[in-house]
Symmetry: C2
Subunit: 392 residues, 2 copies
């Protein structure tokens, strides 16, 4: 069971990251879905709850009495302690038993999937621990969380592979359907019907999944498909699409070119831009291997684009992919302040990343995105690469 695999992984990561205890402190997880909870707890809670992993092997959950059944049913925590009115007593008792020198909490300035603890709840924890020695032993569990999330188990990789496979089937269906006259909105609706047909969820909220861009007048960015912008001959059609299967995501961009009467293929500027994007992904993949730092991989791809005379893409080359589309941890991005320390971290075996970038042209945006798995010696493409524009 995946939950147990990840819990065992977390246990091993305590020693590796120098933590005596990992404490997930959460409440109302439907409103505040701490990314740590989905990794190792697997059930929501309402009232203040504490999930402790001790370096010595202890696993203790302290939750409201009405939440104990659901937590116990998952079987991850050997001890599930219920309370009614106040978590303070059982929490302090558990800490006294473990007596950890360091207690890692789920917060991070940079890594969003390691930042599940809300600020108010952090203040509450300060109150609960006030007057105890544990107050000064709190630290960030971000290094543990980044590795726990980033090092995908074979079960996790299999799920991502399945999500990629379904995405590729949908891309084939789009190829059969695409034609001049369709609005971006209509093409998105076609994809939504395919989600239902394949029994999958969109990887991000449906109103913006897929992103559809046709021609040079389309609105780029994280936006919604237009009702009025329609596919025309001479357009590049660009789709950014992801699905979620058994909790794991794909995230891919694919491209079509709609020929004008008499055209055998796209104009030269489109061809050159497309080729540059493909070569930039080649360069990123070539650089991607265990030990390399995130910004180095980004730089390899970025230099292909800049050398080609194009503007730099305004985002990182790749992000982690897993339970979340933006799965946190190491980021393959430039050293911009908005990315913080995520781009300084080293790539590890078992990481799954996107490799993605775009270049604007007079026929519309050229953008591609592939999904890759880091192996011992480099990387493996989980998606079947797009190396040619699909002609319509």
């Amino acid at each position: 069971m995946l939950l147990h695999e990840k819990a065992d992984q977390a246990q091993a990561l305590l020693a590796e990251t120098g933590l005596d205890c990992w404490l997930t402190f959460a409440r109302e997880t439907e409103l505040h879905p701490d990314p740590g909870i989905e990794q190792v707890v697997g059930a929501g809670v309402v009232r203040n709850s504490a999930f402790l992993f001790g370096a010595g092997g202890a696993r203790v959950a302290i939750v409201a009495n009405f939440d104990t059944s659901a937590i116990r049913a998952k079987g991850v925590f050997r001890e599930v302690i219920g309370y009614d009115e106040d978590i303070r007593g059982p929490l302090l008792a558990a800490l006294q038993r473990l007596d950890p020198r360091t207690i890692g909490l789920n917060y991070s300035l940079d890594d969003v999937t390691a930042d599940g603890l809300t600020h108010g709840h952090w203040l509450l924890l300060q109150q609960l621990l006030s007057g105890t020695p544990y107050l000064d032993r709190l630290t960030s569990a971000a290094p543990l969380l980044a590795r726990l999330r980033g090092r995908k188990s074979s079960t996790e990789v299999d799920r991502i592979r399945r999500a990629v496979a379904v995405t590729e089937q949908i891309v084939e269906q789009i190829t059969s359907h695409i034609r001049p006259g369709l609005s971006e909105r209509e093409l998105a609706a076609f994809v939504h019907a395919r989600f239902v047909e394949h029994g999958v969820s969109p990887a991000w909220p449906l109103e913006g999944c897929p992103i559809v861009n046709t021609g040079p007048a389309s609105d780029l960015g994280h936006t919604y498909p237009s009702e009025t912008v329609r596919i025309e001959p001479g357009h590049l059609v660009h789709i950014d699409l992801g699905v979620r299967i058994d909790g794991y995501c794909s995230d891919m961009q694919r491209m079509w070119y709609v020929r004008r009467p008499g055209e055998s293929g796209p104009p030269e500027d489109v061809r050159r831009a497309f080729d540059t994007v493909v070569r930039a992904i080649d360069a990123g993949a070539e650089a991607l291997r265990p030990g390399v730092r995130g910004f180095e991989v980004d730089a390899a791809a970025r230099s292909v684009v800049v050398t080609g005379g194009y503007p730099e893409f305004k985002h990182g080359l790749g992000h982690g992919l897993g339970r979340a589309v933006h799965d946190g941890g190491t980021l393959l991005g430039p050293r911009w302040p908005c990315y913080g320390r995520n781009v300084e971290a080293a790539v590890e075996v078992g990481n799954v990343f996107t490799l993605e970038l775009g270049i604007p042209t007079g026929s519309g945006v050229v953008g591609l995105e592939e999904d890759v798995l880091v192996t011992a010696t480099g990387c493996e493409f989980l998606s079947s690469r797009q190396r040619e524009l699909i002609l319509v």
Copy 2:
């Protein structure tokens, strides 16, 4: 448009709560859905983003360039400023223009729907504002958020009414379907099919919505319907059910009694417990009016239960109901540490609460939950009260 209604309400609440500026500071809102964002922004963002409401009427959104379209499309923010690499410059410039003496942030020790800011993001904000006078002007916007969320507009109340109406239709369908031999899981699956039929979502995750309990051996609490526990003659059947329509929730509990051969109704102990629960809700509703404090309403209902010789229910009498099933703000609960200051707050016109409690019996749990709207003089039941056990 509801988003604009709530934004106008927020603007007015700045003066009322003594804030010069309300700042929602968020990122990756799909992973960290700040409850402030859904109230007044209405679109997700990826990179560090700031949404400012100034007491003088300013409304400024600062988001990554690829997020500007979606935010602009909602029309709430008069200024939408895009950035690529670093939010610091545009954020400081906006604060310098507004020069607020107080800046309210989305955090609260007690109120979960006012606690959207993560701790890591709070630390990042400290870094961004370091060396500026704004660092010392940060405070909690919890009073604003509690009122914004708690004072439902007529649009919001209408949506909750519709959710309640569909829930009541599903309860009627359950009455036609319920029979000995059905497992809790089978009855839950019947309800799931009704969700699809009515085109509604469950108000909380499907695996635990509805909660189904039949007979004395059923597992109580926030748990999953059992495959092996089946309805038998002599059982109380209890369902806790909510649906979401246009983003707003219902949350109700309903009861059936399955007669044994020859029985005309439930045994005397069940009758007495059911009557006590009804009278406790009567007492809570009687106490519920603007100005009364949360714990006072809870106490009115609780004393009926205790006076009846039953054990106290191990939760508050009622919680706010709206976008979230547990909608935060004022809580109608006892003065237990786990509820913090939420139960000290005063009830206001336009608040929507549940009134709910349970009593265990030898035939299963008796539990009822109604949804009520606070009016100028008292409260109005949005749900059609259950005053008799439904006999099967």
